[in-house]
């Protein structure tokens, strides 16, 4: 008897990850608020993380990455936290110096 939603596979996870990744990438490209760009980066990292976990999952595939996927996902989470801290410090510094958070105004280095 076929179950109502078909059993999920790695491909379904990859599709969700792809959606998150693309949303994040477009978010990074179009947002004018520096914090919006940061949120786009978080989305991208989560999309990639979802793929790692899906490839490492024993419940989706016979010969999975097993623990490697989860470990890499953990490292990505930690690095995302570090990246957010530094990027936020840079954004606040920019805001203090220029009294704006619009990344279009960050053109002091334009040649």
């Amino acid at each position: 008897m076929d179950s109502f939603p078909p059993p999920i596979t790695v491909s379904h996870y990859l599709a969700v990850g792809a959606v998150l990744f693309v949303m994040g990438a477009v978010c990074m490209a179009t947002k004018r608020n520096a914090l919006g760009v940061l949120m786009g980066i978080e989305l991208v990292l989560n999309g990639a993380n979802l793929n790692f976990v899906a490839f490492g999952s024993k419940f989706l595939r016979q010969d999975s990455l097993s623990l490697d996927g989860e470990l890499i996902a953990l490292f990505v989470i930690v690095l995302a936290a570090a990246e957010a801290a530094v990027a936020l410090a840079i954004a606040l510094n920019f805001y203090n110096n220029h009294t704006t958070i619009d990344v279009d105004h960050a053109d002091d280095l334009k040649g």
Partner: protein, 352 residues
């Protein structure tokens, strides 16, 4: 029965996937940054639900604790700190939306096609109902893998995978150091140094522009003559090093004083003359420094003769010679200082 036909795993996945993708799209589509932060929280929470469904319970818990509980709180603080009325809602231009939609949709199409293109990714695991829920409890194995013990690969039949059993100790150490450095760096960069309304780049330069500094004729003449004299003495020293005066034989000097001088130099240790030559050259450099308005050049001009006197006093020439030498070297410095301190404005007051 309809309920019996429902695959709850798949249904829950569908729910979480819709929430994650929907709020991910909401983050992109809203222009209000406060709402973006809230939607992102829900999106990442739904993602952690997907982690749980994939059997990665530890990663899901870490996602909730670190990401939703830590990183996003940090972002929300950033939003609150910069939340002025004009930055809350920043519209994106229509052209950028169109371009982003074209690029994004083609990228999405490519990625989804790639995700469904591999055969083994599309086939579900057939015996998944036999897997125990305890198989998802991987926190012990993860902790051991971080300390370089891979308990999950001990029974690996594949010999090629054996070298991969070495675990993740090095990445763990690297990421620890990275976190420490980031902590210090972020704390350093986020210090409050509020300048107020003035933009930093528009502030007037604190330093006054350099004035046109007048160098009187006497000061210039004194400096130039000092350079020339020191240079000449240095050259004489070099010549004496290269070609020592002979104190015997036909070429011996007939004048009594010159003979004594030559004997004294001959008695001095061999390092004295080159050292004196180098110190005289240093004097020239110090005079150039004074020429370019640096006060420490004058201090150096006083120190170098004292060093020379100390050196000479430690050789066979004797202390009276050293004192006379130092006095001869110091005497020109005194009028130089007097010259620098005379006139209006004094050259000394203009120096740095």
């Amino acid at each position: 029965m309809l309920l019996a036909a429902i695959d709850w795993h798949s249904l829950t996945f569908l729910l979480f996937a819709i929430v994650a993708c929907g709020f991910g799209a909401a983050v992109l589509l809203t222009s209000n940054v406060v709402r973006m932060a809230f939607y992102l929280t829900l999106c990442l929470g739904a993602t952690s639900g997907l982690f749980f469904l994939a059997g990665a319970q530890f990663v899901g818990a870490m996602q909730l604790m670190i990401y939703v509980g830590g990183t996003l709180v940090l972002l929300i603080f950033g939003v609150m700190l910069t939340a002025q009325a004009r930055f809350i809602s920043m519209k994106t231009g229509a052209g950028e939306w169109i371009l982003g939609a074209i690029v994004g949709s083609s990228l999405l199409l490519l990625l989804v096609r790639a995700g469904f293109s591999v055969e083994s990714w599309r086939v579900p695991r057939l015996d998944r109902n036999q897997l125990a829920l305890a198989d998802g409890q991987t926190s012990t194995a993860i902790g051991l893998a971080l300390t370089s013990v891979r308990v999950d690969k001990l029974n690996s039949q594949n010999e090629k995978l054996k070298p991969g059993m070495s675990g993740y100790l090095l990445p763990f150490v690297i990421v620890s150091m990275h976190l420490l450095v980031v902590l210090i760096g972020a704390g350093y960069m986020a210090r409050t140094k509020r300048i107020g309304i003035n933009r930093a780049i528009d502030r007037p330069v604190a330093q006054a522009p350099p004035r046109d500094r007048e160098r009187s004729f006497f000061v210039a003449a004194g400096l130039v003559s000092g350079m020339i004299v020191n240079l000449l003495l240095a050259v004489i020293c070099c010549v004496l090093v290269a070609k020592p005066l002979s104190i015997t034989g036909a070429a011996a000097p007939t004048n009594q004083y010159v003979l004594q001088f030559a004997k004294a130099i001959d008695a001095a240790p061999s390092w004295l003359l080159p050292t004196l030559g180098l110190l005289l050259l240093a004097n020239v450099l110090l005079l150039v420094v004074v020429w370019y308005w640096q006060k420490w050049g004058v201090v150096g001009l006083v120190i170098v003769p004292l060093v020379m006197a100390f050196l000479i006093a430690n050789t066979g020439l004797g202390q009276p010679v050293a004192v006379v030498f130092a006095l001869v070297m110091l005497v020109p410095v005194v009028p130089l200082i007097l010259l620098l301190c005379s006139g209006r404005p004094t050259a000394w007051s203009q120096m740095e």
